[in-house]
């Protein structure tokens, strides 16, 4: 509701003066980050040390890399961050608005790369392994964000992504375990997701319950019901029929030819099915949302349902079915947890990634490609901290574990500028 009240100010605020100062702020942040990283590395790392990047041969053991690239740690960091700082200075002085997005992504990427070089000073690291992990870990977040943005573009807030995922993970696992077919499990997870989302749709679209409340109810329900199912059924079934459970996690599908390309192969073409589906969905939904009648109508009922209604779109009916459809995607995200990344179900195993997905959606300003970017931001911070914890590194572990959340927070709050949600999001539509 607040969003609509402040709408006029928002639009006024998006005009030139605010934008100019934002370029300045971003530029200055860039300079500060560069200065901080350079001084930290210069002070903490011996100038004679090298950070070696290993490029693995696809399919070969890790001790036989295709190439080893030794980089002098301190010199590399000074050059990279120095350039970044100079560009930041230029942006701040000349106020290059159109550079901001590119600059911010480069800044984050280079900051992560610098921390990686710093962590592995005097040692070597498999860079490709980190990047492949970034894609894998982005999968559930991207899918969750896509589900969220379909709902919100239709004017329905869906904070129940987390709970929907958890339901999908649980039921999908049960079906796979009992039937012996993981594919069936994935389908069951999607179906479950859409049913749970349908509950949200019934409550929030038909009964016009406050959408936040409805979402919260589903999140709480998910923890309770899936926990109950695990205790009363899954664990017992595993113990009784342990030897008969034939289903396994989804297989890794190496795309012939492409997966053999060094660097690109492991990063993009050696994944499990849900990760591929995620990559396809990002572009498919982008196309659907901005290039089809369905997309136009969806955006219309989220921006101005009354206008949509006057041209004959059945607002509530469309909202209902869009929310149900989004459940298919969050159910698929749930299947990632219990059927792709592992083959097990544990209490609350989604660990808040459904909420991170919503942050990614906002980060991407309610566009599929942007949401994917947001998910990559979080997952790369996560992949980075997992990797560098394994090295004896000066920064405290708690800080590293906090990194993904910290980066998300800082970027959301300060750098991307004001995000404008669909105008009618959160408001039940009443005809007449």
């Amino acid at each position: 509701m607040q969003n609509t009240i402040s709408q006029p100010q928002l639009q006024a605020g998006a005009n030139v003066p605010r934008g100019v100062s934002r370029a300045r702020i971003v530029g200055i942040i860039g300079v500060v980050v560069a200065a901080l990283l350079i001084s930290a590395v210069v002070l903490r790392v011996d100038a004679t040390k090298f950070s070696t990047l290993n490029i693995p041969q696809p399919g070969a053991p890790p001790n036989q890399p295709l190439a080893r690239i030794p980089l002098p740690t301190v010199a590399t960091v000074i050059v990279l961050q120095g350039l970044l700082g100079l560009v930041g200075l230029y942006i701040a002085l000349r106020q290059r608005m159109q550079w901001i997005t590119l600059y911010v992504s480069t800044m984050i990427g280079l900051a992560f790369f610098t921390i990686l070089l710093w962590a592995v000073a005097g040692s070597s690291v498999d860079l490709v392994d980190v990047l492949a992990r970034v894609v894998r870990l982005a999968t559930p977040i991207t899918l969750g964000a896509l589900a969220g943005l379909i709902c919100e573009r239709s004017g329905v807030v869906n904070i129940a992504i987390e709970g929907t995922m958890l339901f999908g993970a649980c039921i999908g696992f049960i079906v796979a375990m009992v039937s012996g077919s993981t594919t069936l499990g994935v389908l069951a997870a999607m179906l479950t997701g859409s049913l749970v989302s349908a509950l949200h749709a019934v409550l929030s679209v038909n009964f016009k319950v406050d959408q936040i409340i409805s979402g919260t109810v589903i999140n709480l329900l998910a923890v309770g019901v899936t926990g109950y199912l695990r205790g009363s059924f899954i664990i017992g079934y595993e113990q009784r029929n342990g030897a008969d459970i034939t289903a396994q996690a989804l297989p890794v599908l190496r795309i012939p030819g492409l997966s053999q390309i060094p660097v690109l192969g492991p990063i993009f073409f050696s994944h499990q099915p849900i990760t591929y589906i995620m990559l396809i969905l990002v572009f498919a939904i982008n196309l659907l949302l901005f290039r089809t009648v369905w997309g136009l109508r969806t955006r219309a009922i989220g921006e101005h349902p009354k206008a949509a209604d006057t041209v004959g779109i059945q607002v509530n009916r469309m909202r209902f079915w869009n929310v149900v459809a989004s459940g298919l995607i969050s159910g698929l995200a749930g299947a990632w947890f219990s059927l792709e990344s592992t083959f097990r179900f544990d209490d609350v195993m989604t660990n808040g990634r459904g909420f991170i997905a919503l942050a990614a959606m906002i980060f991407g300003k309610w566009t599929p490609l942007g949401a994917f970017g947001g998910a990559l931001l979080f997952s790369s911070a996560d992949a980075l901290q997992i990797k560098i914890q394994g090295f004896n590194f000066g920064l405290p572990r708690q800080f590293l574990q906090m990194l993904p959340y910290l980066v998300t927070l800082v970027v959301l709050a300060g750098i991307i500028g004001r995000a404008r949600p669909p105008a009618a999001v959160g408001q039940p539509y009443e005809k007449g």
Binding site: P56, P62, N63, S124, V125, D126, D129, V130, R133, R136, L137, L195, V196, A198, L199, V202, N206, V223, G224, V225, G227, Y228, L229, R230, G231, S232, I235, G236, E238, Q239, G242, A243, D244, I245, Q248, A249, R317, F320, W336, F337, S341, T342, F343, R344, D346, D347, V348, M349, N351, D382, A383, I386, K387, Q389, G390, F391, R397, Q398, Q401
Partner: protein
Amino acid sequence: MRKTLINLLLTVLLLPILAACGAAGDGTSTGGTASGAAAGSAAASGAPTPIETEAASVAAGVAATTAATTAAETTTAETTETSAAGGADGSNIRVALVTDVGKVNDGTFNQFAFQGLQRAEQELGAQIDYIETQQQGDYEKNLEQFASGDYDLVIGVGFLMGDAIKAAASRHPDVNFAIVDFAYGDNPPANVKGLVFQEDQAGYLAGTMAALVSQSNTIGVVGGIEEVPAVKKFVQGYEAGAKAQKPDISVRQVYIPSFTDPAAGGEAARSMIAEGADVIFGAGGQTGSGAIQEAAKQGAFVIGVDQDEYTTTFRGGSTEGADKIVTSAIKRVDNAVFDTIQSVVEGNFSNELYVGTVENGGIDYAEAHDASAVVTADIKAKVDEVKEGLTNGSIQTGVQVQ
């Protein structure tokens, strides 16, 4: 079409809830007829028993609100209640367990503690009861339910319950408490017994094994929440044990700030494998189990924790990678729990800290099962030698964690 879907949906979603209610109903009726009705069932049936009035004075609403949950869960516990066996007679002793977040059959220390409880039921005839905690915020409530009931001993599982137990103990000075994995320092409350373990010794044995099995001279460990001392002791003991065998070995450590994130655990394991690690130790609940499952799939050797994970995580050898688990770092929580119950039965309960070590059988390592081709007689002999050294004190792990 939409109407039908709505109806269908409501039916589907209500089913599990109805099922839960059905179970609760059964629990109530069983509890009513069994000899010693549990506090939960009594409250649920609404009978004005002394238990309930006492509960009412302390925490009026608590018993009633959690009654349904307990009733459902006490069903299994009460069926075998009357089978008192020989030895010390504990049939008038009532013992209750509050699990950490998890279940009494979840393959973690919750299950192990519950096994100790079950043994006390069979061998001592004690009356047992339990609540499975759903989330951390419920510790106090669950403890209060038993403490304000007519129980002789209330056992909490897990370091994270430390404060809740202490609070409950000061409110109920007449009830004895025990807590797994928590020590209250020099001045423990008079009615609380801490049950802790030298996890560093278990980790040390695991590290010894890992160093001997490793070909690449790089090994890894995935820990759970670093702030939990048990986790840190496992990890540091592991490093110490490995370095004692091979001083130049590289021990990679990753902590994941959750015990229930198997996906992140698996990724951490893969990350270390990419850097050449060929043995992975998972020391962090289900996060650790996820790590060793994934590591075994990737072809690395793995080491489980707490119980023999060959029988839990690898389902007795039926899952992929079961031939990769070379051992597990074992903590006999069940024995510690059983001994504590026995001390109550025999009337000599004290607040003295129990410390499980290799020496008193509280710490051990599991056999190799399907990986016995890798764990040769030589390796096993060396690990046993280290175990002997830890027992007689000639080997110290050197780990200091508080």
